[in-house]
Structure formats: structure tokens, C-alpha cells
Amino acid sequence: MRALQYVSMLFVIIPLTALIVCSLIKRSRQNAAFYLLSAFAAAQVGLALYGLMLFNSLNISEYSFGFHITQAVADVFTLKPASLVMLLCIGLVSFTSLLVAYKTMPANKKLSYLRLLSALIIGMNGIVLVNDLFTMYLFIEIIGISSFVLISTTKTEEGLESAFIYLVMSSLASIMLLTGLAFIFMRTGSLKFEYLIAINNTSAEVSQNALTYLSYILVISGLLIKTGAVPFHSWLPDAHQSADTSVSVLLSGIVIKAAGVYCLMRVTDIFGNLYAIRLSLAILGVITIAVGAMFALHQNHFKRILAYSSVSQMGYMLLGISAGGILGFIGTMLHIFNHAVFKSTLFTNAAALHEEVHTLDIDKLGGLQKQMPITATTSLIAFLSTAGIPPLSGFWSKLLIIIALWKANFIGFAAAALVLSIFTAAYFLRLQMNVFWGQTPEHLQSIKEVKGTIRFAEIMLTIITIAVGLGFPFILLFLEASGII
């Protein structure tokens, strides 16, 4: 128990320390800050894994803790297995982003990047640890501010414009979320999760109330904007394309999931059993998959294709949430983890291409397999994982979501989700054909493979993809032994 207490407190203390260090450190020592923050991110990954093992051995399902400076203060944070998985993703994606930023961030912006990254990590850690809707909203705001400024760190004109679009959409999301929260508070008098789940939100008189439905719609719409689901996805491609690649890694890898999908999961815990809500989430999920994939087929910029691919994958997570039940929950969490890994791999490949070739327009690239073998192979494996080719990890999470949908009687949606994954394969085939697999044009003959931290990031993430894919039987057996399945 002591170990668990220390581990959980560390999840809050580590990013706070990082923030303080980064705000006090001198410009000349910024590399030291880089190493420190990387160490912290790696430590968060390790702590999350250790926490999962502790949870398994102690056989508990959640753990509340707080910072008891005065006496008799309620426990403000709660640690759950789902939170630990999210903390693992947060640590992993932040680590990748740091590895990429080491090469791609201009030197005079590195310290700003580090400070905002620490703030972002605090925001994300906070979201997965709190047990109150309003506090969750507060931490979503932190994420909104930090990511908005992170998008605009390289002050290009399009960067500022897309950051502004993101800010406007984010404010819209905040307004909807806050109004919805206000209505819920008006009706129930408390915003704590346990209280809201306990008062049985699906009783008949409650669900007939128009105000209740309005509050649910507002909250879900606000969170859908943050997720980047259709029809609220318009900010996503611009933000990913014009931000520096390390920021794109963060955005796609964890921000849209911590602030969006995970919060949707917590919120649907409260009122998710309403059939109308589950049906609408499922329909939106399928539409998101289709629209994201169709748009991705026509893009010419590497990062834009990846951004629309993220939109498409969010659709799968929405389907997993709408399926409900334990299988849908596990499928969605696994898909969050898998998506973090393979999308980060792809964005790291984009960073590698940008570093070496200085362009990301796929019409100008071609046949780089020979010149950049590691980038090409890692992008190939990431693509196969996204498209859901077994035995890589992406297939298993999709399979779980499809089975969960089938069991929840959403058979048409399951079939549609399966058939639509061919579009994922299609746009990635186009990407591979135009960038890596082909004849090398004259002006690209002398390109060298990228070295250093970016290469390390690519290889590390690919190993994780393959390991989780091949080791999926072990994951299943572990889940069964813990009594979850």
C-alpha cells in the first residue's frame, strides 16, 4: 500500500517538479532540462507499469489519494487501472515528442516548448486522476491553452492561423462543456463522479427531462470537438500540418485522446446506458471513420494524411465507447494505446523525412526505401498496424471493438467498421507508393537515413507495436486472470 501511495503521488509531483525546473532554468542550460524532462517521461512510463503490477498483486480496483497538508481533507485524486493505462500512454508519447523535438525544434524555442510540455503533462495527468467533473473541465482548459500555444511556437503564418482556429474551436468546446456541467449541477447538486454514477441517471423520470438531455448533448458535443470527431474535426488537419512535428506527435498521440476520448468514457459511465446516446455515438463513429478515410485519400501533404487518419481512428474509439460493456471498454483502451504508438511512429517518420529531405509534399518524394530503410520499414509496420493486419497490435484492438459491437447488437455498425478499414489500407498504400516504394528520382539519390534520437524513437515504437501484437495472447490471459474478462 505504501508503494502505491508513493507511486500515485509521484504522478502529480513529477510533472510539477518539471514545470518548476523548466520555469526557473537558464536558457544556457536548456539541454539539461531536456534530459531531465525525458527522464521524467520515461519514469512515468515505468511507474505506470509498476502501478499496474501493484494493482494486480493487491487485487484492488481503485485507489484514492490526496495531499493531506491539513487534516481531514477528502482524497482528491483517484487512481484506476484505466488511469494507469492512460498515464502509460501519456509518458510514452511525451517521451517520443521529446526525442523528436531534440532534433526538430529550433534552439531558441526549446525552453518554451519544455515549459508548455510540462504544463500539458500536468493537465493530462490531472484529467485521468481526478474524480470530479468540474476539475476535469479545469484540466481540459490547461490542455487547451498549452496545446494552442504549442501549435504556434514556430511562428509561421499558417501556424498562427491554425492555432487560432484551434483556440476558437476549443473555446466553443469549453462553453458547451461548462454549460452542460452547469445544467447537471443544477439538477443533481454535486459533480463528483461517484455521486453521479450512484444516483442512477437512467431512471425513467430523469431521462424524460428535456434539460437532462440538453445537458448530455452539450457535454458530449463539447468533448467531441476536443476529440476531433466528425462534424467537429475541421481544426485537426490544419493544426497537425502546421505545427512542429513534435507537437503533432503530442496532439495526435495523446491530447485528442486524454482530453477527448477518455473524458467521453468517464462521462458515458455516468449516463451511457441511454440507448439514444449510444446509438448516436455509434452513428457518429461510423461517419467519422468514413469521412476521415475519404479525405485522407486525396491529400498531398504527409502530415495531413496522418491527421485525417487520426480522425478516422477516433471513429473506432467512439464505436468502442458506444458498444459499452467490459469488452468495449478494454477494446477502446487498447486502441488508445495502439493508436498512440503507431501514430507517433508515423509522425516520427514525418519528422525524419522533414529533417533529411526538407519537404513533406508526397508528390516531390518517392522511392526512399533504399535511402532511408529504417524510416521506410517502421512506417510500413505502423501502416500495417493501423490498417488492422494481424498479428500486429492494431488488429487485436479492432477485433475487440468489433466483437463488443456485435455483442451489443450493433451488427450493422460492426460490419461497416470492418469494411471501412479497407480505406485505411487504401490511403496508406498510396502514401507508401508515393513516398517509399518506387523508383528513386534523381534529386533524392543522396538522401541519408536520419540518425540520433529520431531513429531511436522510430525503432523503439516499432518494437512496442510488434511486441504488443505478438504478445496479445499474454495480455488476454492476464486480463482473464485478473477476472476482468
Binding site: 493486419i389 494481424p390 479497407i422 487504401a426 495472447p473
Partner: protein, 470 residues
């Protein structure tokens, strides 16, 4: 002991494929030899499993997993038969590749993909769990994608993408059927659900996947276009192994393990008959040598499907025998076409002619293989076709029998046309014989076609056992 043999048959090519680039960077001859050794190991282990399967002492591996999944492998007569067929032809093709590929770049990837493909094929025929089947199915799609686009020019890449998308789409639709089976029975494990009757919609959906993989009309477009691949690749994928996956799945799922509605015994033969006749017609008109052979493949596969699906037990045996005969003979045909193409650098038959004078060995091997495909005794193809036609007619399906005979006549016609255009007549271009290794491969296959006919009772015994598995 038998379990170890089965595991070796699957894992040696599958995992050994990843060792190949490592050796390839060091010594190329060692890498080539290693590739051949891996495939031969699979062949040897499958042959050694034969006595166990015949004696009804099948090798079984079964590791239980939650959610109806499992890691299950089962070496029954059907699996061993398909394994031996595939690895036999594949080892000859690997041998042929030594001579064909040696001047092209990206050889490491080529041998990796070939070994991975054969490993996946082994996994597929031995697996006894639907999701495992699907997994190896997709791995073969991936390998064939990389192999079809081997030459890396734009046309090849586009055709490779098309093949990938068609087969993967079919597989995804088939997965819907598998999940339907899971929803009905609660498991993906074939050993548990043996004898279960499938609802018709699941059969229809799984059939879509099978038809795309075995290139049956109307989902056959990817096969002739995939002729842009190197000849050993075309031989491996489109004659010997890849197209047989669909047929194997049909036998495994619908004949041996599960029951399907009787109506499919009418529908599937009709689809197969249409496909057979249409592609035979296209073969008569094509001018690209590989396209002729590709359309011929579509046609012959349709015939095999006809035999397998008409619900007659000896038809099943005939179909399986024809899988063996066709793999050997069609593989040989593609390899001969490869020798011609390697020498003349063209695939257009109007530019060829009279090659029998300068390439006698190739011509005779091509003749043997063509005679086997046409179904002329004493080659193997004849016995297989005869079994199928005989049983179809005595089972009362006269129309199907007539269609079969018409198709057989068309087969003779277009293959004879091809042979005469390429090897007979006046010489249009100078050519030389292929290298010794390439010639050795086609000779092996030609001789095997002949011997299969002479020693026909050996495979027939094995194939009759498959019928007993129902």
C-alpha cells in the same frame, strides 16, 4: 514428436524469413541456400507427418485463450496434403529464383517475402482456429503485395495495390462471417464447432472472401494484372500457392468442418462455371503470354471449385487431386514463360516464334506441363479431370458435366495456341536457353507432372482420406 514436426513446418520458414536479410548482407550464396533450406525443411516435416495423418494419429497443438480464441494447429490429412503440394512446388520455384533474380536489386526483401509467404501458407493450412486462419491469410496478402511490386515501377505498384485491396477487402468481409460464427457459437475454434450448421448469410459472406482470393469471376481482375511480377513470383502466387488458399478454405470450412445449406451446391458451381468459361474465352484472345496463363489459372481454379462444391464425395477427391496437378503444371508453365521472357525481354506472343529450335528443353517442359493442364493421359491432369467429370455426370448434374467438357476443350485450344505461337512457326527473335538452374527447375516440374499421372494411386489414397474426415 509429431507436434514438433508440425511446429517446425510452420515456424522454420515463418521465423527464418527474418534471418534472411541478416545473412543477405554478408554472403548472398548462403542466403539463397538458406531460403531453399527453410522451404525444404517445411516440405520434409510435412512428408514426415504423412504417416501420422494416414494412421489417424494427427498432430494437434491447442492452447486455450479467452474470448473464443486459441492457438491451435492440427495436422490432418487435408492439411498435410495441401502442405506437401505447396512446399513441393515452392521449393522448385525458390531454386528457379536463384537464376532469375540474381541480377535485380532488392533480393534480400524478395527472399524474405518468399519465405514469409511459405511460412504463412504453412500456418494457414495447419491452423484450426478461425482468427489464426485470418491472420495467416492477411500475412499472405501482405507478402504478395510486396512481391508483385518487386520491380518498383509505377504500373507494378498500382497493380500490387489493387491486388492487395481486392484480397484484403474480401478477407475483411470474410471476417464478418467469422465474427458471426463467434456470435452464434461463442468460439472461433474449429475443433470445437465441428459439424455445426452455418446460417446462409455467413456462408455467403465467407464465400466472398474465398472468391476474391481464388480469383473467381467477378472478383478476378487482380490476377491477370498481377503479371507484372517477376515470373517466379507469378508462379508461386498465382499458380501454385496463393490461389489455392481460397480453395483450401472452402474445403476446410464448408466440406470438412461445418455444414452448409444444400442450395450452395447449386450456386457455387454456377459461379464457378461462369468464371471458367469467361476466362477461357479471354485466354483465347490474349496476346501476352503471362496473361494467357493467368486466365488459364482462373479457368482451372473455377473447375476445381466446381468439383469441390458439387457435393459429391469423389468430386471432392478429384478436385483435390487437380489442385496437386495444377500446382505442379501451372507452376511449370509460368516458369517456362519466365525463361522465354528472360531471354527475349518481351511478353508479347506476336514477337515470339519458332523457339523450339533454340530452347528445346524449355519447349519440351512446357509441352509436358501444358499437356497435364489440358488433361491428356498419362499426365496427372487427366486423371483428376476424369474423376471430376465422371462423378458429376453420374451424380446427375449433366449441365455441369457438359460445361466442364466445353471448358476442357477450350483449355486444349488456348494452350495449343500459346504453344504454337511461342515455340513453333518461324523464328522472329533470337533467343538462348535459360541458365542451368532455371532449366533444372522446369525439368523437375515437367517430370513431376508426368510421374503424378503414372503414380496416380499414391495421391489418390491420401485424398480419399480427406473425404473420410467429414
Amino acid at each position: 514428436m509429431k507436434e514438433i514436426l508440425m511446429l517446425a513446418a510452420i515456424c522454420v520458414p515463418l521465423l527464418g524469413a527474418f534471418l534472411i536479410p541478416i545473412f543477405g548482407k554478408a554472403i548472398t550464396k548462403l542466403r539463397n541456400a538458406l531460403a531453399l533450406i527453410f522451404v525444404l525443411t517445411a516440405l520434409l516435416c510435412s512428408i514426415l507427418l504423412l504417416p501420422y495423418a494416414v494412421a489417424d494419429n494427427d498432430a494437434v497443438i491447442h492452447i486455450y485463450l479467452p474470448l473464443g480464441l486459441s492457438i491451435g494447429f492440427h495436422a490432418d490429412a487435408l492439411a498435410v496434403f495441401m502442405a506437401i503440394t505447396s512446399t513441393l512446388v515452392s521449393s522448385v520455384i525458390v531454386l528457379y529464383s536463384f537464376g532469375y533474380i540474381k541480377d535485380y536489386p532488392n533480393q534480400n526483401e524478395y527472399y524474405l517475402m518468399i519465405c514469409l509467404f511459405i511460412g504463412a501458407m504453412m500456418g494457414l493450412v495447419y491452423s484450426s482456429n478461425l482468427i489464426l486462419l485470418y491472420m495467416f491469410w492477411e500475412i499472405t496478402s501482405f507478402c504478395s503485395w510486396r512481391l508483385i511490386g518487386f520491380y518498383r515501377d509505377r504500373t507494378a505498384l498500382i497493380r500490387a495495390n489493387k491486388a492487395f485491396i481486392t484480397t484484403v477487402l474480401g478477407a475483411l468481409i470474410m471476417l464478418i462471417g467469422f465474427i458471426g460464427i463467434y456470435a452464434e457459437t461463442g468460439t472461433f475454434d474449429l475443433s470445437v464447432i465441428k459439424g455445426y450448421t452455418l446460417p446462409s448469410w455467413i456462408v455467403a459472406v465467407i464465400l466472398v472472401g474465398i472468391l476474391t482470393k481464388s480469383a473467381t469471376f467477378p472478383l478476378h481482375n487482380w490476377l491477370p494484372d498481377a503479371g507484372v511480377a517477376p515470373s517466379p513470383v507469378t508462379s508461386l502466387l498465382h499458380a501454385a500457392v496463393l490461389v489455392k488458399i481460397g480453395l483450401y478454405a472452402y474445403v476446410r470450412l464448408f466440406v470438412v468442418e461445418l455444414n452448409i445449406d444444400k442450395v450452395f451446391e447449386t450456386i457455387v458451381p454456377v459461379i464457378a462455371a461462369v468464371s471458367a468459361l469467361l476466362s477461357a474465352g479471354a485466354a483465347l484472345k490474349a496476346t501476352d503470354i503471362k496473361r494467357v496463363i493467368a486466365y488459364s489459372t482462373i479457368s482451372q481454379i473455377a473447375f476445381i471449385l466446381l468439383g469441390l462444391s458439387c457435393g459429391v464425395e469423389v468430386g471432392l477427391a478429384g478436385g483435390l487431386l487437380y489442385i496437386l496437378a495444377h500446382s505442379i503444371a501451372k507452376g511449370g508453365l509460368f516458369l517456362c514463360a519466365g525463361i522465354v521472357e528472360h531471354a527475349l525481354h518481351t511478353k508479347d506472343m506476336s514477337k515470339m516464334g519458332g523457339l523450339i529450335k533454340t530452347m528445346p528443353v524449355t519447349a519440351i517442359s512446357c509441352l509436358f506441363c501444358a499437356l497435364s493442364v489440358m488433361g491428356i493421359p498419362p499426365f496427372g491432369g487427366f486423371f483428376a479431370k476424369f474423376l471430376v467429370i465422371d462423378e458429376i455426370v453420374s451424380a446427375g448434374q449433366i449441365t455441369l458435366g457438359i460445361i466442364f467438357i466445353i471448358g476442357a476443350i477450350m483449355t486444349v485450344l488456348y494452350l495449343a495456341r500459346m504453344f504454337s505461337l511461342v515455340f513453333l512457326g518461324e523464328e522472329k527473335a533470337k533467343a538462348h536457353e535459360g541458365t542451368k538452374v532455371m532449366l533444372a527447375s522446369v525439368i523437375i516440374l515437367a517430370v513431376l507432372s508426368l510421374f503424378m499421372g503414372i503414380l496416380i494411386n499414391l495421391p489418390t489414397e491420401l485424398v480419399k482420406m480427406v473425404g473420410g474426415l467429414q
